[in-house]
């Protein structure tokens, strides 16, 4: 008998009542007695030497505690050595000698409150000696040891692409530019650092996706060991990847607290977030596809140019976009011949960090647009050309040329269902409006553990979690995890997993976030669509061990064989008997308080901590979008979004749908509205939400979403992750739909987002 509310159920969220009643606790709600507030002084120029910093006027303001520059802090450099070809770009928390992007932190004002801190920050005077762009337009080297500003360069060849292209019946080519974009979570970044100088203990509250990583990074640079640092987990108001890296501001705030011996808080405002927080996308993808006489894809060739921003140190670093695009390109298609080269350039802009979908979004958009171009040139149906080339079930298990191993997948099935759901009139016109549709089948690497990390990144990338489950004498369960919930409902889904394994009521399970001194280790945090699989798997294993302990004690109490016992809704039954004999609560209570049930060999704590590192798995889905274009203005309206997704076993279908719908909305923004712009002098011009347009309820449509559930054999309960699916597939689907709508100009589509003026220009043939 299935436990109600457990795996598979649309259980209502446990976290909702407190979030709905204003009882959420986000980092801006954290107050520590004696706490001071930080305002950063940020560079107003893109590339310059710092000649002088005059703090005198600012320091004279009543209520200012300290104004720090790099020289006041210990020498700290953050660097990334994740890939042997990634060149080193050490980044300091406060600029040392040079600024490399507008928004880079130069000084920090610490004051009684944020109002005074900002007053003082305005009075800090920085003298810059600007490094202008050269006459030929090239950029001065950002780092002396990287004179060509190429921070990463790599090329790979798989199979025999030259031969394939030489023998091709048709070669199609597309260049696609993806503008810089921002994850733009509604809660910006922030942290509180509280250093106790006598006890040498640092407590940090941060809006972060990866508390253990933050602890690790802070320990590495602050001269403290990890057990002297405690990162406390709270509610996070959205993150989408931007809060994975350890931020320079977090280090600066911690270092400042250590220096002055008082708690220090920094809450980022939106202008800072749009200018100085990491961005994403920012790529040029030049893609070629070779086809044979039978319309089979026989080769891909890609040249990818990435924009790194000024530094590349953090999680994923600049590799998170262009490099991942290269590795993701084959996708769900059967293509063995592929070559790519990737170059990533340093620019005087904010650094790049992960954003939902990472480089998979660009790969998907470029590839699907190109496939549509090929279909149009050949005069064949766009579903048909895909059906012909998608990896079908008979070919599974299948490893792509870039090393992604698919053990199961419903690539063709999801495409077929989407075609049916779209119906025959999908592209039918509406008066003088142009209507178009696009279809986009894709894979999503998910549930990233170590093997998945290695496949996706192409280098060693450990990524496992532990979780702790315990039952108290009242028969209630507490689950402790190290992956914060950013909105995806882990407080509910992890409880569902534990309830399922223990066969107890969902209401009897509580999930706790504490801090890194108590929470089991999550190596890499809540990211990369991994929490349901990895944390969920660890919870399942820990719950399984606790279940074993309960049944062993019950067996002793009942003088039965543990194998003859089952648990249903918290009641223990002996096989063959109609009526339960004991409750879980009675067993646990007896296990604690009845000495006759304890023996030195089998001390039972009714608690277990287990680690889980799943094999690599991939979800898949197919998305189609229908758009309406006004030829007079180039204005685009979303008409329909249809998707069929397969992420294996769903812990909570309601939450799966929420993730997909939310990601589709972000994809609408990414395809049609969102652009982080810079002037020719690299001055950011998208610094408010009036410039950086996020979709509202008016720009989004109801998602027609259907599920196929193909559990994988590889993970606990067959669960796979899908948090990024809606983004990966939908940007491509919308781009293809607009291309379809503009008719003859379709193959001229070469940039995202597609603003009305861009679409209008396409229609004019300019």
């Amino acid at each position: 008998m299935a436990t109600p509310g457990a795996i598979g159920a649309r259980s209502l969220r446990v976290e909702d009542p407190r979030l709905l009643t204003g009882r959420g606790l986000y980092v801006a709600d954290v107050e520590v007695p004696g706490m001071l507030e930080v305002a950063f002084v940020r560079s107003t120029v893109a590339h310059a030497h710092i000649e002088a910093i005059d703090r005198r006027a600012a320091a004279a303001i009543d209520g200012v505690e300290a104004i720090l520059v790099a020289g006041d802090l210990p020498q700290i450099w953050m660097d990334s050595r994740r890939h042997p070809k990634l060149r080193s770009t050490p980044q300091p928390p406060l600029a040392v000698a040079k600024v490399r992007f507008v928004g880079e932190a130069v000084s920090m004002v610490i004051a009684k409150d944020r109002y005074i801190a900002e007053d003082a920050a305005e009075l800090v005077s920085v003298l810059y000696r600007e490094l202008a762009a050269r006459p030929d337009g090239s950029v001065e080297p950002l780092f002396d040891h990287i004179p060509d500003n190429v921070v990463f360069e790599d090329a790979e060849r798989y199979g025999a692409p030259r031969e394939a292209f030489d023998a091709a019946a048709l070669v199609v080519r597309k260049s696609l530019h993806l503008a810089r974009q921002s994850a733009c979570p509604l809660e910006a970044r922030g942290c509180v650092a509280d250093f106790d100088p006598a006890g040498r203990r640092l407590t940090v509250h941060a809006s972060t996706q990866a508390p253990h990583r933050l602890r690790r990074d802070l320990a590495a640079v602050l001269g403290l060991s990890e057990n002297q640092i405690k990162v406390v987990m709270h509610d996070v108001g959205g993150a989408f990847g931007q809060k994975i890296p350890t931020h320079m501001e977090e280090i600066a705030v911690a270092a400042a607290s250590m220096l002055i011996g008082r708690p220090v808080r920094w809450i980022e405002d939106r202008q800072e977030n749009l200018v100085a927080a990491p961005h994403s996308r920012g790529q040029d993808v030049d893609l070629e596809l070779a086809l044979d006489e039978q319309h089979r894809f026989i080769g891909f060739r890609a040249h990818i140019l990435g924009d790194s921003g000024a530094y590349s140190f953090n999680s994923g670093s600049c590799l998170t976009e262009a490099y991942r695009t290269a590795r993701a390109l084959p996708g769900p298609y059967d293509v063995v011949n592929y070559e790519y080269d990737v170059r990533i350039l340093l620019t005087n802009r904010s650094p790049i960090a992960p954003y939902r979908g990472v480089g998979f979004v660009a790969a998907q958009a470029a590839r699907e647009l190109l496939i549509d171009d090929a279909a149009r040139q050949l005069g064949i149906d766009r579903f048909e050309i895909r059906r012909l080339n998608l990896i079908d079930k008979a070919k599974l298990p299948y490893t792509t040329c870039t090393g992604w191993g698919y053990t199961e997948g419903t690539f063709v099935e999801t495409l077929d269902q989407v075609e049916q759901l779209l119906g025959p009139d999908a592209g039918a016109g509406a008066g003088d409006r142009l209507v178009g549709f696009g279809v986009s089948p894709f894979v999503e690497p998910s549930g990233t553990g170590g093997q998945g990390g290695r496949q996706v990144h192409g280098f060693v990338s450990p990524s496992h979690d532990a979780a702790r489950v315990g039952v108290d004498p009242g028969g209630k369960v507490t689950v402790s995890i190290g992956t914060p919930s950013l909105g995806q409902g882990l407080e509910t889904t992890m409880a569902q997993v534990a309830a399922d394994v223990l066969d107890i009521d969902l209401d009897d399970v509580a999930v706790a976030w504490t801090d890194t001194s108590q929470a089991p280790m999550s190596l890499t945090g809540t990211r990369a669509s991994r929490a349901a699989v990895v944390t969920g798997g660890a919870v399942a294993r820990a719950a399984g061990d606790v279940r074993r302990q309960i049944l062993e004690v019950a067996a002793a109490m009942l003088e039965a064989d543990p194998l003859d016992l089952s648990i249903e809704l918290g009641q223990i039954r002996v096989a063959g008997e109609g009526v339960p004999r004991l409750s879980v609560s009675e067993v646990v209570r007896a296990g604690f308080f009845d000495d006759s049930l304890r023996d030195a060999e089998h001390e039972r704590t009714f608690e277990a901590t287990k680690l889980y590192d799943p094999p690599a798995t991939y979800s898949n889905a197919c998305v189609a979008a229908v758009v309406e274009v006004d030829p007079a203005t180039g204005g685009i309206e979303m008409r329909r979004v249809v998707a069929v997704e397969d992420c294996g076993t769903m812990i909570n279908p309601m939450i799966v749908e929420g993730q997909f719908i939310g990601a589709v909305a972000q994809a609408i923004g990414a395809a049609l509205f969102e652009q982080i712009r810079y002037s020719p002098e690299e001055q950011p011009t998208s610094s408010t939400l009036m410039d950086y347009l996020l979709p509202t309820s008016q720009e989004t449509v109801r998602l027609e979403l259907h599920h196929i559930e193909t559990p994988t054999d590889l993970t606990e309960r067959g669960i796979k992750g899908m948090g990024e699916s809606g983004m990966i597939g939908t940007v491509a689907a919308i781009a293809c739909a607009v291309a379809d709508a503009v008719g003859p100009a379709a193959s001229s589509l070469r940039a995202l987002p597609l603003l009305p003026q861009d679409v209008w220009a396409l229609l004019q043939g300019t």
């Binding site: 709905l20 986000y26 509604l186 809660e187 939400l689």
Partner: protein
């Protein structure tokens, strides 16, 4: 140097309770609500009046507290998300509807959306999806894609007796 900062004495009804405070004139209404009154359910998403996360009701009308100053609340009545519940532990039908339809994920935008929805349903009945989408279009949500929120408002239209 001490900056010249004006203060103001204000009297404001917050969620049905009359309060007197002395505040710096330049303190925003949002900061007043959060830091002086310690009502942290109202959140700051942009501080330039676009996202709507800071929405409160001022004399029953939705306003963006981040671009109001605390002295502007003097003599007025304010409703924040903390004032929605009929009693502790009980949810307003609108809040219950949000829960039923997965109308929130991270919760950061939720207070603003609840109050805008409350205002919408106070003025309209038998609303259609178009009316709801239009009515909510001044509030940003980055997580949900709005669908669950729209469904929640459509349910509350039916379940909230008003």
């Amino acid at each position: 140097m001490r900056a010249e900062v004006e203060s103001a004495d204000i009297e404001v009804d917050v969620n049905g309770r009359s309060l007197h405070r002395r505040v710096e004139a330049r303190m925003t209404a949002a900061d007043f609500i959060r830091d002086v009154l310690q009502l942290r359910g109202t959140h700051l998403g942009c501080e330039h009046g676009v996202c709507g996360a800071c929405t409160i009701l001022l004399d029953g009308i939705s306003v963006r507290s981040c671009i109001l100053y605390a002295p502007q609340l003097d003599g007025r009545s304010v409703t924040t998300v903390e004032g929605l519940q009929p009693s502790p532990g009980e949810l307003h039908p609108l809040q219950a509807a949000f829960m039923h339809h997965h109308g929130l994920q991270c919760g950061f935008c939720t207070a603003g959306l609840l109050l805008v929805a409350l205002e919408l349903l106070s003025e309209e009945r038998d609303v259609t999806e178009d009316v709801v989408r239009d009515g909510l279009s001044g509030n940003l949500c980055r997580c949900t894609g709005y669908q669950g929120i729209v469904d929640a408002v459509l349910e509350a239209d039916r379940t909230w007796e008003r």
